[in-house]
Structures are given as C-alpha cells and as structure tokens.
Amino acid sequence: MKSGLYGFLFAMWALIILGGGIIVVLLGPFTIQQFGNFHWIIASGIKVTIALLLVIIWILILSKLKNWIFKKELKF
C-alpha cells in the first residue's frame, strides 16, 4: 500500500514536469497579431482555454492512474 502511495506521488511529479513542458512548448511562443489592440486579450483567452484543457487531461490521467495503482485498496 505504502509503495503504491509513493508510486502515485512520483507519477504526479512526472506528470507535472511533462505537463509543464507541454505548456511551455504550446503556450510560450503563442501570439496573435491580426486583431489590433485586442490581440493580447484574444491570445490570453486562447492560452487560458488550452491551459484548462491540459488541466482536465491531467486530472483524467491521474484518475485512471489512481484506479490502476489502488485497484485493490479502492474496493471500499
């Protein structure tokens, strides 16, 4: 059980590092120029949407991982 918890902690850490990489690669260079003064608001809006999607994907992966790592224990 305890090793499962350490494994889950490690998996969360790896997902944070990987998710961070995706955010930097996807969101970092993202810019929009063709909307005049509003380009930064539109770019920010798109960044927020992508970030929220990544967070949702992160939570879904964690849920699957949790069920897989603790499949024996989660029969409460």
Binding site: I16, I23, V24, V25, K47, V48, K66, F76
Partner: protein
C-alpha cells in the same frame, strides 16, 4: 551577505519564540473559556483547546513586520495582509459554522492584495523547459492558489500534529528551494513559516494540547501559497505539497463535488477495540489519504501521522530535485 543573515536570524528566533511562549497561556485562556473540542481519536473523553491560530498568526505578524523593517518589500506586505485575512476567515469559521462557499470565496478575496501590491511575476517557471509568460492567466492562478493551499492544509488537519508537522517539512523544503534558486530575500521571508510551524508542533503533536482550528490551518496554507507566488516557485510549492494535494484529489474524485467534511455522512475511518484507526468498508464514505494508508491494516494515530510525514519528506526531496532542474534547460 551579513545584511541578509542578521534579519534572517532575528526573524526566525522571533517567529519560534512568539509561538512557543504564547501558546501555553493561550491554551489556559481557551480552556478557561470553554473553547475546547473533543479529540475523537482518544479512548478517554479528552477535550483539547481550539483555535491555536491566534498564536500562529501572532508569530507570523511579528517576524514579518521585523523583516519588513529590514527589506521594505511589497512581497512582505502581501504575505502579512493575505495571511492575516486568511486567519480572520478561519477564525470566523472556527466560531460559527459557515456554508461550503464561505472559505473558497473569501480566501479568493484575501488573495487580491498580492495583485494590488504587484507582488508577483506573471511568468510561470517550469523545470527543464523554462518560463512561460501568462499575464491574464496568472491573475486567475493567484485568485485560485490561496483557496487551494488554504483548504488543502485544512483538509489534512485530521490527526494530532499532522497539519503543523506537515507544514514544518513543506515550508522548510520551500525555503531550501528558494535558496537553491538564488531568491535569497524571499527565502528569508519564508523561513518564519517553518519556525512558527515547528514551535506550534511542540503543542500540537500527539497527544495534542491545542488544535490549530480553521484559523491556524488557513493561516499556514495562505502564507505558504503567498510565498509560492511572490517567490515565483508555484510549481515547486505544489510538488512539496503533493501528499496533501493527493488527499484533496482523492476526496473530490470520490465525492465528486465541493463539500464541507462535516456534510459527509459516511465515515472513512473507524476505531478498533484497542483504539487503533481502521479503514471502513462504507461505500458512501470519501476516499482520503488516511483511509488509503489504513487500507493495509489498522495503525495507531501516531503511525499514520509518521507515514504522512514520510510521504511529505519524499515529496520534499522531489521538490528539491525540481529546484535543481530549474537551472537546466533543453
């Protein structure tokens, strides 16, 4: 360097001493005025003083004001104001049962001074891959960060000494990471949190003489979250807090809604004949970190607490590795 060492030493001594010496009289006053709650994990009917947040916030305010005298940083003002607001929110919740919306909404408002004082940098630093500039998204992150860290620490305040002991490990880890990253001033500003937690742990450890209450737990969490923002170490702070985040994640993914613990009817943990803790088979009860730890068999309250501390040390090591990785880029 000497101009950093002297304030660091003075503030750490003050943070520790204020909590260490004000908590015993606070316990007496709370007991005298009947501000006590039953310790549910003891065989005998033991009443414990609550809330200990009063001595915690006193230690933080005194030490941070002294640091402000030395550094005059807006970041310190943001820490003092946001943490004090979180204490007041927790104190209201300690004295009067509030709705489930109360803490998240008011803690989000408590985060606003960080924005108004401009005590943040809107780029988010990730290990290996570098920084990403997210001006608008970062404002949302600040608003969400304080309720999340506050409630996360509050959610692990379930056994004697766990919240304060966990904060000792997490906050010293955060200070070490700030030193590794060369952010010396914020590292020094963060040190009082560890010393306040350490002094409070003396009275909170099993068998507890005082509980931090919502006021203490929210104070710990809000200060931790504010340091993460003003120090630009949001990701590292989240990693050091992972065992508590797992607890909130397990709870939310089993309950599937935001709800106060007292509103949950099913009990995740029960007592054996010799008053050890044991996971229940109740399908309506939420899955929590303590319940998962107990899935292997009954353990004493002390054993569960130390298992949580070991998990905190493990995630602390991961946080320190992450801090070293910040200096490496592809």
């Amino acid at each position: 360097m000497i101009e950093l060492i002297i304030p660091a030493i003075i503030s750490c001594i003050l943070a520790f001493s204020v909590v260490y010496f004000t908590t015993p009289p606070l316990i007496k006053i709370l007991v005298k005025n009947n501000f006590t709650v039953k310790d549910m994990n003891k065989k005998e009917s033991v009443m414990v003083a609550r809330p200990g947040g009063i001595s915690i916030i006193l230690g933080i305010i005194v030490s941070e004001i002294v640091l402000y005298g030395f550094f005059q940083l807006n970041e310190i003002l943001a820490i003092i104001i946001t943490t004090t607001a979180a204490f007041l929110i927790g104190y209201v919740d300690d004295r009067k049962v509030m709705g489930g919306w109360f803490k998240p909404v008011t803690l989000a408002i408590a985060a606003l001074p960080i924005i108004f004082l401009g005590a943040y940098d809107s780029s988010l630093a990730f290990p290996l891959f570098g920084n990403v500039e997210i001006p608008l998204l970062y404002l949302g992150l600040i608003i969400f960060m304080i309720p999340i860290t506050g409630n996360t620490i509050n959610s692990i305040d379930v056994l004697n000494g766990v919240a304060s002991g966990f904060m000792v490990i997490a906050s010293f880890t955060l200070s070490i990471c700030l030193f590794i990253l060369g952010n010396y001033e914020i590292a020094i500003v963060s040190l009082p949190l560890g010393f306040v937690s350490l002094a409070f742990y003396k009275y909170h450890k099993i068998p507890s003489k005082i509980f931090p209450g919502d006021s203490g737990a929210l104070t710990f969490g809000a200060m931790y979250g504010t340091i993460a923002i003003v120090g630009g170490v949001e990701i590292i702070a989240a990693i050091a807090l992972l065992p508590a985040i797992i607890n909130s994640f397990l709870f939310l993914s089993s309950v599937k809604r935001i709800v106060e613990h007292r509103q949950i009817k099913g009990k995740p943990v029960e007592h054996t004949g010799d008053f050890k803790l044991k996971a229940t088979n109740d399908k309506t009860a939420p899955v929590t970190l303590v319940r998962l730890i107990l899935a292997g068999g009954p353990l004493s309250e002390k054993q569960v607490g130390f298992t949580i501390f070991k998990l905190a040390i493990f995630s602390g090591i991961l946080a320190i590795i992450t801090a070293f990785m910040m200096g490496v880029s592809f």
